[in-house]
């Protein structure tokens, strides 16, 4: 069977077994860090998305294990400090993390156990890419995947500061940035992400962004019919929407899910740092350099005259005479 689709439509079906060429190429980049003139891609890949339905997750962490397996990382064995989130934070070896929150719903007085799968959101307007100073260390494909290219990474950690979701981590071993790739290496050959494939409840589903939005609608209607009046889709417009989305039963309060940002956007400080500062900075430094060089070449230098040398000589003679007289 020849694969004619540019992106996989699901993570459930088994992948084609014949060798395939990667479908995510350099010509499919729509953004490349620290690169101003990127040729427009000739084709537009179908945007993909991962949808995480928080209400269906049972917290089994199969997704976390699948992620470690597929990406061949070695997270250190954690320590139990009394709650289920383990390891305690994302690391350069743990690209996704189930964050557990015990929340008492003030309306019902019920304890709700909220479990959110944390990881890169694959923002349409990625702050990490905006902040990155190294050409080609962060790229964005036309299907929406934001990927880190480790060979080009210098380890500065600017992406950490640029990201509104606190996702990238710098490895202490090789000083390069790591995060969820949305399994770009799998998607490129027609497979869905490893986590979505592993999830036993299909709390994680994968497909085109359009399909995922439709799927979410059904889930939200179901949740509403079961009393979750504020159920909704988390696809934050502040970052242009994301290619990892959540169905939240309390979409009016994303912050209860282990501090999921309410209205994420690239920080104004980062915008100023990477915007006005750079243009104004280069301009004034360039002008100052040009000004000094021009003045140096064409202006009059400040020279000591012969007369002044003589005056100095006289002053010394005079002073010495005074000293000798004394």
């Amino acid at each position: 069977m020849a694969n004619t689709m540019d992106s996989p439509r699901t993570a459930v079906s088994n992948p084609p077994v014949q060798p395939m060429e990667t479908n995510l190429t350099q010509r499919d980049l729509i953004r490349r860090s620290a690169t101003s003139e990127l040729p427009q891609p000739e084709r537009q890949l179908t945007p993909v998305a991962k949808l995480i339905d928080v209400s269906k997750c049972i917290g089994c962490k199969a997704c976390q294990s699948a992620c470690v397996e597929w990406n061949d990382t070695n997270p250190v064995i954690g320590e139990n400090v009394g709650y289920y989130t383990n390891p305690h934070d994302l690391t350069a070896d743990m690209f996704t993390l189930m964050r557990f929150t015990e929340w008492v719903n003030p309306e019902t007085d019920n304890l709700e156990w909220l479990i959110r799968k944390d990881g890169c959101m694959h923002c349409a307007d990625p702050g990490c890419l905006k902040a990155c100073p190294a050409p080609g260390a962060i790229v964005q494909y036309s299907n929406g995947i934001v990927d880190f290219v480790h060979d080009n990474c210098i380890g500065c950690g600017y992406c950490v500061k640029g990201c509104p979701f606190n996702i990238p981590r710098i490895s202490k071993a090789d000083h390069r940035a790591y995060k969820c790739t949305l399994c770009s290496d799998r998607v490129a050959v027609g497979q869905g992400p490893a986590c979505a494939k592993a999830c036993p409840t299909q709390a994680i589903v994968f497909g085109t962004k359009e399909d995922m939005k439709k799927h979410a609608e059904g889930r939200i209607a179901d949740l509403k019919s079961r009393g979750y009046a504020n159920a909704g889709l988390y696809d934050p417009p502040g970052v242009g929407g994301t290619h990892v989305m959540y169905v939240l039963h309390h979409n009016d309060k994303p912050q209860i899910y282990a501090d999921l940002p309410v209205d994420p956007k690239i920080s104004a400080v980062v915008q100023t740092w990477k915007g006005a500062t750079k243009y104004a900075g280069l301009a004034v430094m360039g002008l100052a350099a040009a000004g000094t060089i021009l003045h140096g070449l064409f202006g009059n230098a400040n020279r000591v005259s012969k007369h002044e040398e003589e005056e100095a000589q006289e002053a010394v003679d005079h002073a010495e005479k005074r000293v000798e007289d004394a």
């Binding site: 740092w273 750079k278 003045h295 040398e309 010394v316």
Partner: protein
Amino acid sequence: MSTPANTASAKVTPAKVGGEDTIRRGPPVEVVRYGPGKRINHWITAISLILLLISGLAMFHPSLFFLTELFGGGQTTRWIHPWIGVVLFFSFFILFAQLWKLNLPNRDDVQWASQIGDVVAGNEEKLPELGKYNAGQKFIFWGMASLIIVLIVTGIMAWEQYFGQLTSIPTQRIALLVHSLAAVAIILIFMLHVYAAIWTRGTISAMTRGTVTGGWAWRHHRKWFKDMAGRGRIDPAE
């Protein structure tokens, strides 16, 4: 030369041969402006600052990223920049301790600054007689000192490898913004400093050989020159 007994200043320092702030009898008359210790340290500061501005600018804008090649690639540039910053901080700190008193502002500086037009035109005969430093040099001194403090503090906050956990991410964003603005400011001051040293002919030798001509001292820092002469800080001919 006998020991001066009756000079204007009460505390008479016998001139150390080749020592700082002494007049060499000549002819021609020369003045020792900086001893070897200060000169070596100044060059450590200067080289660190130049390496810092090159490595920093490489990360500042993509059009300058090619500068990382000078350091052997982006990874090396990233780790070496903050360490050079630490060297700069300590070498400048020593310089600061030695020079801050002479750089305190005084009334002549106000007069000098109000006649900045005459300064730029080179009409030095219209300006007040000055001590070892003029207001422009003092401005550079204090500007550098305060910006280096800002740069080391914000630089440490942005130093992912060792201090990534020290401050929160929103704080680190501000730190990087301030660091890049302070870097632009210190680069401007650095250009002014180098330019002034070149424009004022005869200055560079103060940092290479340590000496300036008598005429240079007479023209630009007459109070300093007269003070040395008055206190008998004069070496006999070499």
